[in-house]
Subunit: 344 residues, 2 copies
DNA sequence: CTGAAAGCGCTTACAG
DNA sequence: CTGAAAGCGCTTACAG
């Protein structure tokens, strides 16, 4: 333990009670806004609270009442603007519900994630919002968290739990993007980027395949090319895409970073993204609207997701025994200039 | 209060003590790793802790010991990757120090900031790391926080307090950028963007002026053009810059967003950024390395800043009476292609 | 409407 | 080496 004694003597209900000549119980009732206490007494006590700059000790109250006023938020990658914005939304909504956010970031490390959760659990949050690290061990998480408190899982599916789950509508998003390209006349459309074993990538591929097949096109195996979900790797794999999907005129990309990476790769090969090769993204990061050409992509509103996650968790805290929920956050196609619209 | 009763009966030291036939004191000593307890007893107790899946209640321990194991982190804008990365650094370092992070985000609203702080203070953190909202009221903050606990202010100067302060080396950064442009032969160099009344903007202008004067150039008033620190506004004010600083061949921009906005504005006027008009940024956001041309800018390593902030605060917690510190985080010039290097 | 007493889960002198 | 007792700051029946 590195914790340290506090430096200043703190004012307690006992101090206030003494100064006012009432009991601690009365002060407590005033603090909690009880109608039982006489208006005059209340006024006297409130004046004294202010005068002595009393600060409520919520930890003590929580201990006595067997309650919690915090929620733990565990984020896999806070340096990703999507998750940062999500965290901001969570914090905002929790604050409105008078809860405080206990933050933990795991940097995509399952080991750190377990350590972080073990530490947070000791602070007895009312519940946990978990955006899991890649390759999380669902069984180990079950062990750490048990059925001790409500858990809401965000974004990445975790196998075999009965926790609430909130995710983007990945499948629908990819379907919308693909349909948009089809409507523009593209036929040989690739699906580019992402790790095929991640749940979000699987779902986006599914949406892509669905749209293609509905249009009577059976994508060839070579049209599916994996990459890390980063710009650099996507750029590096552009050659692979062009080689394995010859004659393709468009790609539905796993996300915006992949799309921008592909655009870099195309340019390096003298292919003009947008007019000569259509590209779609996923996420609508801030660059998407500002790049040249601006990127057609799916807006996901991470802040709204965060608010939704907080509300789902608080619902669960209020109703621990309601059946587990699976909720999908809507995505919205943002049509911009990267799909050769000008070709039409 | 929205807090809710916890749903499961929780295992306490009393339960463990009973099961093992020892006193609660002994269990407590085992938990805290005291060497006083006999190895056999320890083993028995530890087995029982595991068997019953005991979870330490840190809040209760903190109450009894008059300690705290949390630090509040209040961030003005979590959706800005710079601050998100800073938060990640803080959380990382606090975690290593066995502290948990209480997050609060204020969305640049001084009112929200006061509400958030008032709420966090009730959770009795060991200290507060505050990245203030714009136009924060230093006096009001003093009132909310008092001398109750250590505060570290990050990034934005707050007038008239005796709190620790950590900021980027804004002046040096802008000086380095300006010197780089001067070395490339530029003479009519503008300073573009930012709100002139913000402390960071003031410091960056100062660095710019310092470098210019050292080179024997007195910038004309028209060479200083304000804008919001956003891409959109910067793009919109490009005309103003070209008009007020005619013949200028370069601009030191307040930050990367402004620089990218200016690049957009230049292109829209048929001026090629980099080769025809040199531009520098500040922040080194991820796009800086990837844009065409890549942006010469100052790297600030927000994660490192975050770690530094956490360490400064924990030092202060350990030594409440040490003199207040003002620390400046180093910045590093990243020379890339936006300054017409190819002209040389 | 107000007060005395017990207790939330933990720790810490103090005896033994 | 171990246990009984007091207490951190709060709340909550229960009397009055």
């Amino acid at each position: 333990m590195t914790a340290i004694k506090s430096r200043h003597k703190v004012v307690t209900v006992t101090d206030i009670a003494k100064s006012c000549g009432v009991s601690r119980a009365t002060v407590s009732l005033v603090l909690r806004g009880s109608p039982l206490v006489h208006a005059d007494t209340r006024a006297r006590v409130e004046a004294e609270l202010k005068r002595q700059r009393y600060v409520y000790n919520r930890a003590a109250a929580n201990l006595r009442r067997q309650t919690s006023s915090s929620v733990a938020l565990v984020i896999n990658d806070l340096s990703n603007p999507f998750f940062a914005e999500f965290a901001a939304g969570v914090d905002e909504a929790l604050g409105e519900g008078r809860y405080v956010t206990l933050l933990g970031s795991t940097a995509e490390s399952p080991e750190r994630q377990e350590a972080v959760l073990a530490s947070l659990v000791e602070h007895a949050p009312a519940g946990i919002i978990l955006s899991p690290a890649e390759h999380s061990d669902a069984v180990a998480l079950q062990r750490v968290l048990g059925a001790r408190m409500p858990v809401l899982v965000f974004n990445r599916e975790l196998s075999g739990h009965d926790w609430d789950f909130l995710a983007l509508d990945n499948q629908r998003g990819a379907r919308l993007a693909t349909e948009h390209l089809l409507a523009l006349g593209h036929r040989r459309i690739a699906f580019f980027g992402g790790h095929a074993d991640s749940s979000s990538c699987r779902q986006r591929r599914e949406g892509y395949l669905e749209a293609m097949r509905a249009a009577g096109i059976e994508p060839e195996p070579g049209w599916l090319v994996e990459s890390s979900p980063t710009r650099g790797d996507a750029a590096a794999r552009t050659a692979q895409l062009l080689e394995r999907a010859p004659g393709s005129t468009a790609a539905v990309c796993y996300n915006d970073n992949v799309a921008f990476g592909l655009m870099l790769g195309l340019r390096a090969r003298g292919v003009l993204p947008g007019s000569e090769f259509a590209v779609t993204g996923f996420d609508d990061i801030s660059e998407a609207a500002l790049s040249t050409p601006p990127l057609t992509t799916l807006a996901v509103q991470p802040r709204v997701c965060g608010r939704l996650a907080a509300e789902m968790l608080l619902d669960r805290v209020r109703e621990p025994d309601a059946p587990a929920r699976r909720v999908v956050a809507p995505v919205q196609l943002m049509v911009r200039g990267s799909c050769g619209e000008s070709m039409q």
